[in-house]
Symmetry: C2
Subunit: 354 residues, 2 copies
DNA sequence: CGCTAAATTGTAACTGTTTCATATTCCTGT
DNA sequence: ACAGGAATATGAAACAGTTACAATTTAGCG
């Protein structure tokens, strides 16, 4: 559409200056740069995509980069994305927005600079505005594992409130009255949902919500261990814990074994699973489950179609978690908790009560 | 250096034709294309890197793409790579060579087309030649988890023969005489090493090598289960199994529990770990260990330096695995194996005896 | 105010790509 | 064998954006 020379003519400057301004090169007067950027925006100028014909979508993180730890969400997600792009021969680039985006460029030009045609966005509370802005600019994007009311934003996420509630109800039906929640400190709608589900279940069954039973944890092995350590040390300890993270669940199971707590006889544990980890753990744990890989697959598939112009439909999808009863939940034992000999070394660091 | 017009002049064709040939566009006579490609090669012509200034290295797979399953090598590797590139603000692109490389282009031009300046290569037996060719072309590359004699090839790998041998010796010292090997069907030097270590340990201690005790497995949960199922069904079953894969080890532990085999009393199991999985399993398993994340980190760090021109040193590094004794290895019980009631359902598919 | 150095901008040459017209080749039916 | 027509291959020229270098403007300072 608009060319460098047109913009240059319009502003009465040279093409060289326009080129420099658009590429964030040094030695351009900031006023001139602003004028050029504004004119380019108005004229709908878009940087030429790299001549080389390759199709690539990005998996973009707002700040910190992928945590590829065992059992965590992101490797499964990436695995699904890879499956989702193979048909159309797209490549996948991993981006860190905070690290690389220049303040002076729009998201569209940022992605253009990175040579990506579409983006799968990971998102947390403090970066929702980024997703909004990207969608506002009209750049092909899909947010994964978050939901939005703004109809411009495409997303695919999993509804976990309902099954979180079911999980807690399951524990209540088994006879538990003091049920703790080990929730990790990521702040996003998904985790609020899980917390809401927990509280709803309590409320529905006339159980008091006790803030002392809320443990804010780091989503790893130690976090789960710390949660158990803290919770069983309470004067009136819980008989069951609901964890919202797979690694924490595994950590909790291990720590219980260390200190001689038998699961589920002494303590029931319900966890959360993004893939198949619940079956790899011992005992296989009762769990609210979602399939992160499938989320990635569908997001990538849609995005690739969208970028290829094969669809202009928005993607606004909520999948459902499912609840699976395994071997870590049972009726609470009568009488007080009795721990075996060794209390287990204190795992260093990692969360605390809220 | 050489420009399109120079090459065109030299061959007596037009720049347009040269451009088309170099970009693998249709409608170019194959003879002409060959002449152009040859001339370009001779003249040391390199496609202009994308005008956009972004630094990116690729994680390239020869054929199938990253398997991001729980506990497997590749997610840890990627995690390390991501850590390794953050300093220098490189991005990481995931590539499938087989899927995308055109037969008519060199590896260098393939990577140039993909806008990557360096590449971390995953490699197996059937793709060693690819690594060789890439190194021959002088494209910045580093192979991960394979070793080469060819001094042109940069690699970082882990020596696992020694500790595989120690692992088996550990079992022998405990009194085991029939020790099986569950090795997965990936064919690379690393896995041959592990097999060699196993056989050396047997030979050194005057134990007969029994091919019936070799089980060729698929590197997943089912593979480990199948290995146990097959091996305990033998007329003269092993009292210990050495697995070369973490997932298979976990699968084996689970299957043992299912069929009522107590580890390590009834059967000793020594596994392999690329990250921390051994501590997440139950019981935490005795294991030969490497740190895939660290491998990725060092590979990426070196590659980024190499690409940035901060080093011209080759990278030819062998790290050592380490051997960690945990709770799945003990002296064999006297007398025959006795299984508890339920034999457990047969897991479908996944490897068989060699 | 004059002088110097740095910052800014323009000119022009250079890069590779692409459209359109032209030439060549390859079929195909007679 | 050959005319006709379609597909293929090529070239000329116009076009894209980038960049070295020179020209100009601005800023700082005595």
């Amino acid at each position: 559409m608009a060319s460098l020379r047109q913009i240059a003519a319009e502003l009465g400057v040279s093409v060289a200056t326009v080129s420099r301004a658009l590429n964030h090169k040094p030695n351009v007067n900031s006023i001139t740069r602003e004028r050029v950027l504004a004119a380019a925006r108005d004229a709908g100028y878009s940087m030429p995509s790299a001549p080389r014909s390759t199709s690539v979508i990005a998996l973009a993180y707002p700040t910190e980069i992928v945590r590829a730890d065992y059992g965590s969400f992101d490797p499964s997600l990436l695995s699904g994305i890879m499956r989702g792009v193979t048909d159309k021969k797209f490549d996948v680039l991993i981006l860190n927005i905070q690290r690389d985006k220049l303040p002076s460029e729009t998201y569209t030009s940022f992605f253009a600079r990175k040579n990506v045609q579409g983006v799968v966005l990971r998102c947390f509370d403090d970066s929702r505005h980024i997703c909004e802005e990207i969608a506002e600019e009209g750049f092909p994007s899909v947010v994964v594992a978050e939901r939005f009311d703004n109809p411009k934003i495409n997303f695919i996420s999993t509804e976990s409130r309902w099954d979180s509630r079911r999980a807690v109800e399951h524990l209540i039906h088994l006879g538990h009255r003091r049920i703790a929640l080990g929730i990790h400190h990521v702040r996003d709608t998904d985790h609020r949902d899980r917390c809401d589900g927990y509280r709803e279940a309590l409320a529905d069954h006339g159980l008091e919500y006790d803030p002392a039973l809320l443990f804010d944890l780091v989503a790893d092995i130690r976090g789960g261990a710390n949660a158990v350590r803290y919770l069983v040390s309470l004067a009136d300890p819980p008989t069951a814990i609901f964890f919202t993270d797979p690694l924490a669940t595994i950590g909790a199971l291990h720590y219980c074994r260390e200190i001689g707590l038998v699961v589920p006889q002494d303590l029931s544990i319900v966890g959360f699973d993004d893939s198949d980890v619940r079956h790899h753990a011992f005992p296989p744990f009762t769990s609210v489950c979602q399939d992160a890989s499938e989320l990635g697959f569908e997001a990538a598939r849609w995005l690739v179609k969208r970028v290829s112009g094969e669809t202009s439909e928005p993607l606004r999808v909520m999948r459902q978690t499912f609840f699976e009863i395994n071997q870590t939940s049972a009726s609470p034992r009568k009488g007080p908790l009795v721990l075996s000999t060794n209390r287990g070394a204190l795992p260093p660091s990692g969360g605390g009560p809220r």
